[in-house]
Each structure stands twice: as structure tokens, then as C-alpha cells.
Subunit: 233 residues, 2 copies
DNA sequence: CGCAGGGTTGATAGCCTTCAAGGTCTGTGG
DNA sequence: CCACAGACCTTGAAGGCTATCAACCCTGCG
């Protein structure tokens, strides 16, 4: 295990919040902090396997994580990408439905599930927060069902780029840096690498986005929103 | 509104449980019962709209409900089918992400969300149960992402039939009666009606299932499971 | 410098959709 | 009781979107 566990000396200020909140109104999730351990993982390291007992849950401090489901014949579905501030490993009951892997080198804060559940028992606010979190994820999952079930390749890419732009608060100088490969994006959107490339080339030609190997620049948000076929947002 | 609200005289014995449990270990959800109202709705009646404030949640007593998302150009995604015993309307925070409609004539037990949330505050067991429920739905949602993102038409149908068979406890004489139309099934699986028909015809020719207008008979479960491409179950 | 892995582009194929038409069932009204 | 209308289902033919196969490019790194 190439995990470098550091002493649990992380103060609150170092920990990205799940949702930015007023300092006066601390997040119930902060309760977990005292039981957290910080770990650093190299690129492509498996954080937990499919079907593994859900011993821990995690918060991404930096870097990017993907959740993955592999079919016997090699077909792959990327459930989601987790960015700094995101929690994962809480959406499972006994065992994880998806594996989790480091897309880039990542720093994670790791919490024992057993401890989380115990805390939730004694702190109703935490229990409430956990349910709220599950419901937020559920809504995102339903949204993705529409994407996977009914949207075209172009619509999927447009939706994906907008979602990433929305989540990626820290986009330096208007550039949306995306750490995952084209293959990862394809497996997330139910497409192939080639289709992802072609659609990105189209959007680039249209002047809708600028595309480089590791990122995008959104040149025409209105056009993207039209393409994404979403009513809200 | 063609809702016939009946006096709240339903005793526990009339209410299907979400998950069958030992009578000695009552479900925390039973707490809601005293605040429930029974309503009967005709086929195709809208139970709640997309984006509607989530005022109520529901338990299906009999019949079938679908959750639906409509895109501007008419494309439709059926989120899920709810059968007797299933709860819905709890998976939303402020507003419903999908509309809900009666597939058949349905009897519903309706509970005010406000009351549910209040009860969850004072009864930790209920809060826990609600989170458990959300996580169960979340797992199902992730499973469906694999289906929509990576499975072929045949695999989708096989998975669907097996899922329905699993959930539809009361299948009289081995016949799996499905109340929803081919169009509903298609919109649930990200396919067209025609494809659903063709694949069903194939499975029938193979001798895997028997198909009639309103139901199926599973003749070869092993074959179906192979086709479904699921490791578990 | 050469290699390996990811990215891009082109040509072809295939699965599913679209369009079209006919079939079947059900409920309704004469 | 029967005829009819309409909705749903089924099947066929053609087309399109995306996948597959293949080749080449680019970049980072040993």
C-alpha cells in the first residue's frame, strides 16, 4: 500500500468544506474531523474496490478521484468524479457499489465509517446532514440518468463541461482545468474516446469552447447551455 | 383534481410494508402512519409535477406509479416504476426532480413532508431509516447508470425483467404481470418502443421468456441472467 | 533519442432509431 | 350483440449516430 499516512494534525482551516458555509454556522460534518486521517495517494491508486466492505469514507482535499464499475468484458462506467471538497464512500450501505481510484495524485481525509455512524447516532444534526448529502447525490444521479438515457453525444459533452465548470470553483484565469483523461470522460458519459474527441473538435470549430489537452475555456456559455438541453441552471 | 380522499381509517394491517420485517421489530416508517391519508387516482393522473414543491411523499398501496422527466422537445425519461409497498417523493430536497404519474389506477397513502421531517427530528430511528432508504435508492440509481451508459438493448431488457421479477413478489402462477406500456419501458431503459418490441420478440423466439401483452413468464432464468450482464444477484 | 501512452482523425460497420404500415385488443355506443 | 374507434403493439425498410478498427500525431519521460 503506497499510502503515506501523516499524523492527524490537520486543523480545520486546512480542510475544504463540502459546501461553503458561514464560519458562524459550522457544518455538522466538522464533527468528523477529529477522527480523520490524511493520506496521500499516487495517480491511479485504488482507494477501495468494488464490493469492498465500506470501512471508510473520504473527503478529497486536493486532486481528483473517480468511482468505477467494471463489467466482465471490460466495459467500464465511471460513476462520478470527485473534486476538492467532495465526500465519497458515504453512499453505500454495507459494501461499495463502485471502486474508487485516484485520477491524479490526491490528498484525502479518511474517516472510519463506524465512527461516522456512531457520531450520527449521538448528533442528530450530523444524521440530518448525511441524509441531505445522500439526497443531493440522488438528485445528481437522476439528472445523469436523463443524460445517459436520452441525450446525444454533443448534449452529454455540453452538460459535462457545464457541470464541471459549475463545480470547479477555482478556475484560474477562466481556464477550466480537467485532470481526467478523454477515456475517463467517455466512460462517464457512456461514449467512446473517439466520440468524445470528435465532439470536442466540433465544439472547438464552432467557437463554443477552446480545447487544449488538459483543459477547456468556455467561450460561449449561452451556446453550451442550449446544447446541454437543461431547463434549470 | 380527481382525488377521492378517504377518511384516515386505514389500520396498519392494510398497509404494505416497505421491506417485510418481523412483526416483533416494527419499521420506523410506521410512525408516519397516523398522519397518512389514503387517496385513489385514476390511470395517467399526475400525482405531482416536475419542480413542484415537495409537499407530500407517498407509499403505493396498490397499482403502479412512474416518475417522469420531460425534455423540451418531447424526449422522456422514466426515472423509476413504483409498485405496491414502495415509497416515493422522499428523494427530493425542496422540489421534486421528476413528475410522478399513475400508470394504472392506484391507491396511495399520502404523508405531509413537513410532518415526516418533524418526526425524523424527534425519532432518531426514523431519521436513520430515511437515510437507509435514500442509500438504497442511490445504489439502484448507480446500477441504472451502468445499464443506461454501457448495456445493449438486449441486456437492458433482460436486466429490467429480472429486476421486476425480483420486486414483484406477488407473481400469481409464475406469470410476471407488468402494468406499464412498452413506451414506458422504452423511456425507462433509454430505448424506443420499436426496439423494446423487437428485443422482446427475440427473447421469445429464443425461448427465454414467454411474452403476452400484459406480462411475461420467465422460462429460462439462467439465460436471462447471462444476458443481463450482472455479477451479483 | 526512442518509446509508451494518450489524443486525434479517417473509414467502415453496426446497433438502434426513425418512418411507415398493418395488426390486435379494449371499451363504447348503437 | 356487434361494429367501430382509438390506443397500443408489432414488424419491415431505410437512415443516422455512434462504435469499431486503424493509422498517425503529440508529448513526456527514461
Amino acid at each position: 500500500m503506497q499510502i503515506s499516512t501523516q499524523a492527524s494534525q490537520v486543523t480545520m482551516s486546512h480542510v475544504a468544506r463540502v459546501a461553503p458555509q458561514r464560519a458562524a454556522n459550522p457544518d455538522a460534518l466538522d464533527l468528523l474531523e477529529q477522527f480523520g486521517t490524511t493520506v496521500r495517494l499516487v495517480r491511479d491508486h485504488e482507494i477501495h474496490a468494488e464490493d469492498a466492505d465500506a470501512e471508510y469514507c473520504y473527503r478529497v482535499l486536493s486532486g481528483c478521484v473517480r468511482t468505477v464499475r467494471l463489467m466482465e468484458d471490460g466495459r467500464r462506467q465511471v460513476g462520478e468524479f470527485l473534486l476538492a471538497g467532495d465526500l465519497f464512500g458515504l453512499d453505500d450501505l454495507g459494501t461499495h457499489a463502485f471502486a474508487a481510484e485516484a485520477v491524479t495524485e490526491v490528498m484525502l481525509r479518511r474517516y472510519p465509517r463506524r465512527m461516522v455512524e456512531a457520531l450520527a447516532e449521538s448528533h442528530p444534526a450530523l444524521g440530518r446532514r448525511l441524509r441531505e448529502l445522500a439526497l443531493t447525490h440522488l438528485r445528481a444521479a437522476y439528472e445523469r440518468m436523463v443524460l445517459l438515457g436520452r441525450k446525444t453525444a454533443t448534449e452529454r459533452l455540453a452538460s459535462f463541461i457545464l457541470e464541471m465548470d459549475r463545480r470547479h470553483a477555482a478556475s484560474s484565469n477562466g481556464m477550466l482545468e480537467l485532470p481526467m483523461s478523454r477515456t475517463d470522460i467517455a466512460d462517464h458519459l457512456g461514449l467512446t474516446v473517439e466520440t468524445v474527441c470528435r465532439v470536442l473538435a466540433l465544439l472547438k470549430r464552432d467557437g463554443t469552447i477552446y480545447v487544449s489537452r488538459s483543459g477547456f475555456r468556455l467561450l460561449n456559455r449561452a451556446s453550451l447551455r442550449d446544447l446541454a438541453c437543461e431547463m434549470r441552471h
